[in-house]
Amino acid sequence: MCVALVLFVSSCFAQSEPPPSITAKAATEGRVWGALIYASNSKTDKNQETPDFPKLATRLGKAFPFTNFEILGQHTQVIFREYESWVVPSKDLFLKLDSKGAAKKGGINLHIQFWQAQQVLVKSDVVLQLDSPLFIGGPKWRDGRLIFVLVLKKPETAK
């Protein structure tokens, strides 16, 4: 591993203030919201509403046979035009996105890799359209299943 990377990471965690970005802001294609959801039939109501995805539990309930959908982690991420982008709502399950350029009607052509730690579960070419979510039914966990949700958001000032 290169020394510069080690020094950079060390400085990230050592400083209370993050180090200034070395590069100018990279060009972006769009913005996505990703979330890791724990779907179960738990008697305790753990359904959560989020402004990033209205009626999340209702819509997931139509695609997966569960009644409870708990958001474990979430991440809003800009998609870089020339660099890889990561959507990491959890260190256990996350996505790597590579932009393949704009698609019709405001969509984006993406190459997606769905990772579980060091193992890639699936690679896919996807045309992601505005407000048309992609649900990925992942591994089973406890009494339910882990689901990854990815949504392309309307253009906004990049965070």
């Binding site: 591993m1 510069a4 990377l5 950079f8 990230c12 965690f13 993050p18 970005s21 070395i22 590069t23 990279a26 890791l36 819509r59 309930g61 139509k62 695609a63 046979p65 569960f66 474990l72 982690g73 979430q74 991440h75 991420q77 800009v78 660099y83 890889e84 990561w86 990491v88 709502p89 959890s90 260190k91 256990d92 399950l93 996350f94 790597k96 019709k104 009607k105 969509g107 579980q116 060091q118 193992q119 579960l121 699936v122 690679k123 896919s124 045309v127 992601l128 359209q129 048309s132 979510p133 992609l134 649900f135 039914g137 992942g138 591994p139 089973k140 966990w141 406890r142 392309l152 965070k159």
Partner: protein
Amino acid sequence: MKTTENNDQLTRWLDGELTPAERAAFEAEMQSNPLLQEEATMMKRISESLHQSVTLEMPVPHSDFFNSQIMDRVYELQKSEERAAEPSNTLSWFSWLRAPWAIAGAAALIAVTALIWQTSGTEDRTEIVSLYAPNPSVQAKTSYNAAADATVLTLDGLDTFPADKEIAGYQVHHSENDAALATTTLYNEKNEVLVVMATDATNQPTMFTR
């Protein structure tokens, strides 16, 4: 004495289907016919007992999910029936085109079809173009769920996460990209670093956490 007509009226009386006039006449007949009255009383008792012990409406588990699956199946069946009917339709189209008004009609039809095609295509929805699961025991299935208005990619055959494992979720607020080092740093709402993502020489993700 009990007749076939009595039987029919008894059933309708039990089900509450008699008109007021029929009901009055039937109940008057019961007063004069002890056999009929005895049977009516017995049948009514059985009927009430059944209603008490049998739940006629059973809740369907995951009704939303099953309804949407049924609708998807119906949609697929309709599409396959339409496809199966296409060859015979072709013949009737050719004979229809012999009609004198065919050219004007066909032009109008083409214009309308083009308009519908432009406005109701699948271009608005997320589409999975290709898939590859490196682990051969993993089956990847894709579908469009109209009820959820979502594209669904289901991965079956994955190893189950250990039940005692805690899933560490992040609430990522924003990120920064460093092109020189090819890293992405993820921050929480307090501007604290959560994770630094990078890839190694073999393109494997490397994750640095606190």
